[in-house]
Subunit: 349 residues, 2 copies
């Protein structure tokens, strides 16, 4: 299991509809109104998307509060990650983190340097020792699967190191909007004009649109130009282009989604903290990393699957062994069911 | 102008709706019925596409008449072209041809060898001299912008050379269905199990879906596995996935589209042959390459633009100079208008 969300592979093991706790999607679903927008978008697919994505980038830059010249778009965040690795000499990743950082780097022929997190925090000493001219450091912010966002002061220190080393920093912020009361990296790095920096976000998680494939971000003028040059032409499809011109204006939806996740995070944290046999890690986003105290991921995965819930096994994350799982934060109804199964697990043989 | 279809860049120069003769799309539009299929597909974008594209590949293999294990899919044909170049040592292209062959190879760090077509035919001697172990030869079949398909016997000779050289052949057949009474490469190479061979097609042109981004193809078991491994996860979006499960079953639409294009090709060929100041090349597909006898592409482009038609300038094709243009084959009504403007051009200053 390299990625979550692959329910098709597990349907045969359960009679009934599976609940997906393996991918971390906003339980409120996409913004209301998008259905009609897309239903009227049939004409759009009969022409190529705008090869320069002029309107889409305008909409994104307005949402991110950056200049349109700094905006980049991709076929999901992962295409942008891929493009950044293609521009790098070597790629540095912290582990555990999203497997595609290392995978895209390797496919693109780049040497990968792994640095373990120290108690899920950045090891500055190790980073200072490792970093070289032309390196690309990729950090999940918040990081998947640990759920932690880097402290603002620490992030500025990392950025200083990056700039003085003539290296590059890529912040994968695909889960940014789920983080309550956190600083905004795009605002934070405005005065640096995003030099040697990329900040990536996506419609996938917060706007609940994993199928539409829309990633976007903000980077320096130089890097934005280079990224556009190396990307596949028309890599963002017309439906994603259309959605991207609509979703970001939904202030009410955005506020309600944040509040909803905030409530459910507190609720799940409180309830799951009571469960023995697991160690629950604190999270800033919409998923929990869990350490299994006396069980392994296979057993727990099967235990949940038999009860209609697909969780994420975590041994595929380099840096974690088979005693970790990850669960999303979903609707109250689903979360109650999840808690119920954890309670069953407590007393299982 | 690196690609056709970029109407947005020219809208300001013409009051009214531009007719796009710069991209080569089936004038009948997408299969009827697809609108409803996609309108009901809103739920699909709330989950990831199937990361293994099981149903989509089944549908494609059924249409192509190949085994499902031989099927590959991509974010447009261009993602598959990109993946094939990534697997190659060097890339050989004939010129003039689709610019992305060379571009993707270069971006992926591969050396590119250009061999000029001889009167738009493959120069076997030059190919024999150039080809080396591990090379990828990419051929448009039919080729863009020349409109020619390789003779079957010649193609088999090229394939023999490829196999004996331990090289690879990629046939870009994005325009295949427009070619009347031509052999089917997928049938032709079945007995060779597509070893060292890729055959790529797309929903873009024939199914009139440039915005949906669906490329697909057929290759050896070994290459199909490698391609899937190096592709971006979820690179084909849910709408494309949904469309691909529907469009290929429309036998009536497919037949009618072929007949329509066949009629219009004959009509346009007959009428444009009468125009002085241009040399019209014979085509097997849905676009014509045209040599301007005493004019250049800029003048002719502007001449058509002022009259509401966007044509394709061809100097961006390496191997052609600024005395070539390309025009699509569209509806009878549009084609009449195109012919009318060519007649105006005949008598222009």
């Amino acid at each position: 299991m390299e990625h979550g969300g692959d329910l098709i592979s597990y349907e045969k093991y359960y009679k009934g509809k599976l609940i997906d706790y393996s991918s971390n999607i906003n339980p409120l679903g996409p913004p209301r109104g998008l259905r009609n927008i897309l239903a009227n978008g049939f004409n759009n697919i009969q022409a190529y998307p705008d090869i320069k994505y002029r309107e889409l980038k305008a909409s994104i830059s307005n949402y991110l509060k950056c200049k349109v010249e700094n905006a980049v778009v991709g076929n999901g965040a992962v295409e942008l990650i891929d493009s950044f690795t293609l521009l790098a000499k070597r790629v540095i990743v912290f582990i555990p983190s999203f497997s595609e950082y290392e995978k895209r780097a390797t496919i693109n022929g780049k040497k990968v340097i792994r640095i373990p997190y120290r108690d899920f925090n950045v090891d500055m000493g190790a980073l200072e020792n490792a970093i070289q001219n032309g390196d690309l450091l990729i950090i999940g912010n918040p990081n998947n699967p640990t759920g932690r966002r880097i402290d603002k002061i620490e992030l500025l220190a990392i950025y200083n190191l990056i700039v003085s080393s003539k290296a590059y920093l890529l912040l994968d912020e695909a889960f940014f909007e789920f983080c309550p009361d956190s600083y905004d990296s795009i605002e934070l790095f405005k005065k640096f004009k995003y030099e040697n920096l990329g900040i990536i976000r996506a419609a996938t998680k917060f706007f609940a649109l994993p199928g539409i494939r829309l990633g976007y971000g903000c980077t320096s003028l130089t890097l934005a130009k280079k990224i556009s040059e190396i990307q596949l032409p028309w890599s963002v499809n017309s439906h994603a282009e259309l959605a991207g011109k609509y979703i970001f204006d939904n202030e009410k939806y955005i506020r309600e989604s944040k509040e909803y996740i905030n409530e459910e995070r507190k609720y799940l944290y409180k309830e799951l903290s009571k469960i023995s046999r697991i160690k629950l890690f604190y999270t800033e986003t919409n998923y929990f990393l869990i350490k299994l105290i006396d069980l392994n991921e296979e057993y727990v995965f099967d235990f949940f699957l038999k009860r209609g819930i697909v969780i994420r096994k975590c041994s595929s994350f380099i840096g974690l062994d088979n005693t970790y799982i990850r669960v999303a934060i979903k609707s109250r109804e689903d979360n109650k069911r999840l808690i119920g199964v954890f309670r069953e697990l407590e007393v299982a043989a």
